[in-house]
């Protein structure tokens, strides 16, 4: 849609600005969420810019790579990073129009995230350490359940707004004055739980822990160090930011600029930043309220998403 608008060079510029905002702000959001979590636990916590310092430190450090590892272990951080960057190019922040003249489909997004996860799991298995194996088997269990739930929730959304193209969904959502049907409510509920699961938040995974028995994501990247660890951490932050942006743009898109005038776009950016920080604070607050669930109870929560998506579908067809 609206491919003629993207012929302007300004739209390409806007696309690059969006890309830069995602890349630069992703570690900051992680830092803010860590800080909020620390405050809710009555700790002072590290500075919100600590994640940048961590990344810089990791980039400067030497790497240790196991002799037993194959090329998969060495290349998968770059594959994960590039797939995440491709996603970051197409996520609408300022305006719901395709900046590079290409539409971006939800299924492509899920496919790129699936590619990231596939290579992360392969890298975890490749070095054949015990913890890698544990983390990978857990990740496989949750992701194989999460994906159908995510599909159900997103298809509810796609059927409601009449397209699987992200820009169409976001612009239709932004035009409506309120949520146009109750099925959006069900997919909001399901998508929120999925965002918590995909970004490794507390009922599902606890990234802050270093107890081997409870970690999922950390166990897979345990063997990485130096630059490759920095790349993986950065792509994890970007993935978190992208999912939260999608949540905001799909379900609370009001305030999004609908034309290319700079004033409305800067205003929209301000509203967007407020929304995303509020969402981050909300997620960290929920994280402080719940404990880590037992691994075999996690499917219950994911089935809750599926039931929610199913009910959304039912609401669409009655």
């Amino acid at each position: 849609m609206s491919t003629e608008i993207s012929a302007y060079p300004s739209s390409v510029l806007v696309g690059f600005i969006q890309f830069l905002i995602i890349i630069v702000l992703a570690p900051l959001l992680t830092g803010i969420m860590r800080r909020i979590k620390a405050i809710t636990q009555k700790r002072i916590g590290s500075s919100i810019f600590q994640t940048y310092f961590d990344l810089l430190k990791l980039i400067r450090k030497d790497e240790v790579i196991s002799e037993e590892s194959s090329w998969i272990f060495r290349y998968s951080p770059w594959i994960i990073f590039s797939a995440t960057l491709v996603v970051a190019f197409f996520i609408p922040i300022l305006i719901p129009y395709p900046p590079f003249g290409l539409g971006f489909d939800i299924i492509l997004l899920l496919g790129l995230f699936g590619l990231c996860r596939f290579f992360l799991m392969l890298a975890g298995l490749d070095v054949s350490s015990a913890f890698g194996g544990i983390g990978v088997s857990r990740e496989m269990m949750t992701s194989s359940l999460l994906e159908p739930a995510l599909f159900l929730v997103l298809f509810t959304l796609a059927v409601t707004y009449g397209s699987t193209n992200i820009y169409t969904i976001v612009s239709h959502a932004a035009e409506g004055s309120m949520m146009i049907s109750a099925s959006i409510l069900f997919s909001l509920f399901g998508f929120f739980i999925i965002v918590m699961a995909e970004t490794g938040k507390l009922p599902f995974d606890n990234p802050a822990t270093h107890l081997e028995l409870t970690m999922v994501h950390e166990a897979m990247v345990l063997e990485y160090s130096g630059k490759r660890l920095a790349v993986i951490e950065l792509s994890q932050s970007i993935k978190q930011l992208v999912l939260m942006i999608l949540f905001i743009n799909f379900f609370i898109p009001w305030g999004l600029s609908t034309n290319f005038s700079p004033a409305t776009m800067i205003g929209g950016l301000g509203i967007f930043l407020t929304k995303i920080i509020t969402l981050g604070v909300l997620i960290s607050y929920i994280e402080s309220k719940v404990a880590k669930w037992r691994l075999f109870r996690i499917p219950d929560l994911i089935f809750l998403c599926m039931a929610s998506g199913l009910m959304g579908m039912i609401f669409l067809y009655i």
């Binding site: 409510l185 219950d300 089935f303 009910m311 039912i314």
Partner: protein, 225 residues
């Protein structure tokens, strides 16, 4: 109608709060979820009262909130304080939580499908809340059948009871206040009786535990001899 969107929205919220109630496994968790569900039901009652412009429904909403969101949960928590955790936590239900969730989604579909056949005219309230109330009834029955622990079977009963309340409200737009209050007193008496029973159950089970322990101690001392 102006209210159509709001009503469908509220029925969606009520269904979400119901399925959140279904996944809770332990006693304190579902009490909390039941409280939220009742608050949503109260909001629905107030909205129906506003649309039909009937002051009796506001009274019913106040009683619903104070009875089901404040008194009943506190009573149940207080009564079950001394019961050991094993009798409150659902470890091996007859139907697993996942089956319950998928089953309740199917029941929601079923109730919407079956109420589509009824001609309700242009009654917006009945059209949006009748299917929800029937699905609440069916989900309550399913939960009651699926759980093994006696305490947790009350969840099903309470969901069913909320469903009945909504059913009556959506079809009649507020029955006479006297009947409403009578029903509420029935619920209160029922909960009081069941809590006395729960108390007795807890007492007996604690006794059984004690007997077992003293038995073990006895065997131990015999071995020592």
């Amino acid at each position: 109608m102006v209210y159509n969107n709001l009503l469908i929205f509220l029925s969606g919220t009520l269904l979400i709060s119901t399925i959140v109630l279904v996944i809770k496994r332990e006693f304190s968790g579902w009490i909390q979820a039941y409280r939220y569900q009742t608050i949503v039901l109260t909001i629905i009652t107030v909205v129906i009262g506003y649309i039909t412009n009937n002051w009796e429904i506001y009274v019913a909403a106040t009683i619903t909130f104070s009875l089901k969101a404040l008194i009943v949960p506190r009573l149940l928590i207080k009564v079950t304080e001394n019961i050991s955790y094993d009798f409150k936590n659902e470890t091996k239900p007859y139907l697993s939580i996942r089956t319950l969730l998928v089953g309740s989604a199917i029941l929601v579909a079923l109730s919407y499908f079956s109420t589509q056949q009824i001609r309700l005219g242009d009654d917006v309230i009945a059209m949006s809340f009748l299917p929800v109330s029937i699905s609440l009834l069916l989900i309550g029955l399913l939960v009651m059948v699926g759980r093994k622990v006696t305490l947790n079977q009350i969840v099903g009963l309470l969901i069913l009871e909320n469903g009945l309340f909504l059913f009556v409200l959506s079809l009649t737009h507020g029955i006479s206040l006297i009947i409403e209050i009578g029903i509420f007193i029935d619920i209160l008496v029922g909960i009081v009786i069941s809590s006395i029973l729960i108390h007795r159950i807890g007492y007996t089970f604690d006794d059984i535990n004690d007997v077992n322990q003293s038995h073990e101690n006895l065997e131990y001392t015999e071995e020592l001899d």
